[in-house]
Assembly symmetry: C2
Homo-oligomer: 266 residues x 2
């Protein structure tokens, strides 16, 4: 092979590999992280799978109830609606306000209230402030698919997102629209696991992954050391056990998918 | 001293120091970080100093122009308004859209366009998309005082906030409401410097500080490694020099304060 042939071959190979890289980049779906419900409108939900993230404790409890055999979980936005639907379908009504079981409901938000011996075969009607609101926004904006994510079902979420090859929006429920630590940590955990499947042009996602990688050896210790607001709030209600469980991966590894008003495992 | 006297003294001392700690905690002003203009409404601005943060590049350029002797900087929200005010006061009109000097304006957003030899004694009329919008929200919500912050004037901002003993809101300008890395890094730098002066119950602030501490040895390298969207955007316009300058502390260490439509150094 002479010099000109060699150069032509190099140019051809370079062009081929560059084009292939661009092709791969273009065909990868996108991933964005919305750190608060007040930011969710910035993203195109109609073309995406939306992951509802409310680590302490709504989505951890949803995964746990379904893992333990609940028929479905119906998320509702108010105590009165929770009571109404609970009566209609003979469901288990649950929800808290200010750390206590809300008046008129029977159960609270702790995942430990829903062991298999209690919840199997039943429907949980759950009202939470932040998670349910985020889910409603995702519905209103026409999300293509809605699933819920939490550390107890981290792998199920990651496996699903990696397999679906669709655009993804990680939606943090936050706290009254204020960004919170644990939801961002979970978003970071998802990204750390499946980043190669996506094209990610989103600072919130990169920040979440960085934070998660720094925290992952001891998520509970990280929350404590960095004065996470929910750490203090739940410790004030004597709920260390709940926090530790909700930060533990894959203890309730199912995939809750929203289907016609209910979260179910397909 | 007998046993009872000793115990009484212990109880007295404990009570005294506990009360004193609570008193100190209560008297410390609060600090919050708003990661996007879309989150600013969550905080009580009327009772706070608001720091407008638009690191790449509005607030870095504002600090630089004032450090180099500009009489004042007038932030405006549109190109047409910039042209109008520029004519009225014979000011230097500046602003970019999509990385180029906007049509009808004379200068761009780079801090390097404003050396002392050019800007001394003149008024800069600057239009930027994100920073100016955030400033307008802060004005509309009746912020007690508005200052601008960037790495080039980091110490001036920190010294002022520590001395004022007032509530503080660090307001990130972000990018079209999407959270960005560099503004969060600057918020974290401020917090790392003055956290002891404030009572901080805000996950965004703790996250910003954590990120900054991880990044501070090499802010440019951190932005590059973590795929910051503005790193890519400005590198695409061949502006590495601007990025490096805008991430360097105290190169233009003045305190721009908003006063009756203008940013000035008092």
């Amino acid at each position: 092979m002479n010099c000109i042939q060699y150069r032509l071959r190099s140019i051809f190979l370079n062009t081929y590999f560059c084009s292939y890289s661009i092709y791969l980049m273009k065909t990868k779906p996108t991933l964005f992280t919305s750190l608060s419900p007040a930011l969710l409108h910035l993203y195109d939900l109609s073309n995406s799978i939306v992951v509802i993230i409310d680590v302490l404790r709504a989505t951890s409890t949803i995964a746990t109830a379904l893992f333990n055999g609940a028929k479905s979980v119906i998320p509702v936005d108010s105590v009165s609606r929770c009571i109404e639907i609970g009566k209609q379908i003979h469901g288990i009504t649950a929800g808290e306000r200010d750390g206590r079981v809300a008046e008129g409901l029977i159960h609270g938000n702790s995942p430990f209230e829903y062991p298999r011996s209690f919840i199997e075969g039943k429907t949980l009607v759950l009202t939470t402030t932040n998670g349910t609101r985020l889910l409603q926004i995702a519905l209103d904006k026409g999300a293509k698919e809605i699933i819920t994510g939490s550390f107890p079902n981290l792998s199920a979420v990651c496996d699903h997102l990696a397999a679906m090859n669709q655009n993804v929006i990680l939606g943090c429920a936050a706290w009254k629209d204020r960004v919170n630590m644990e939801d961002m940590l979970f978003a970071g955990a998802v990204i750390a696991n499946i980043r190669n499947h996506f094209s990610i042009n989103c600072d919130s996602s990169h920040l979440a992954e960085t934070i998660y990688k720094k925290a992952k050896k001891d998520l509970f210790g990280f929350m404590k050391k960095n004065d996470a607001s929910h750490y203090h709030r739940l410790m004030g209600f004597d709920l260390e056990k709940d926090i530790r469980y909700c930060l533990t991966p894959d203890e309730a590894n199912v995939l809750p998918i929203y289907d016609n008003g209910k979260l179910i495992v397909k």
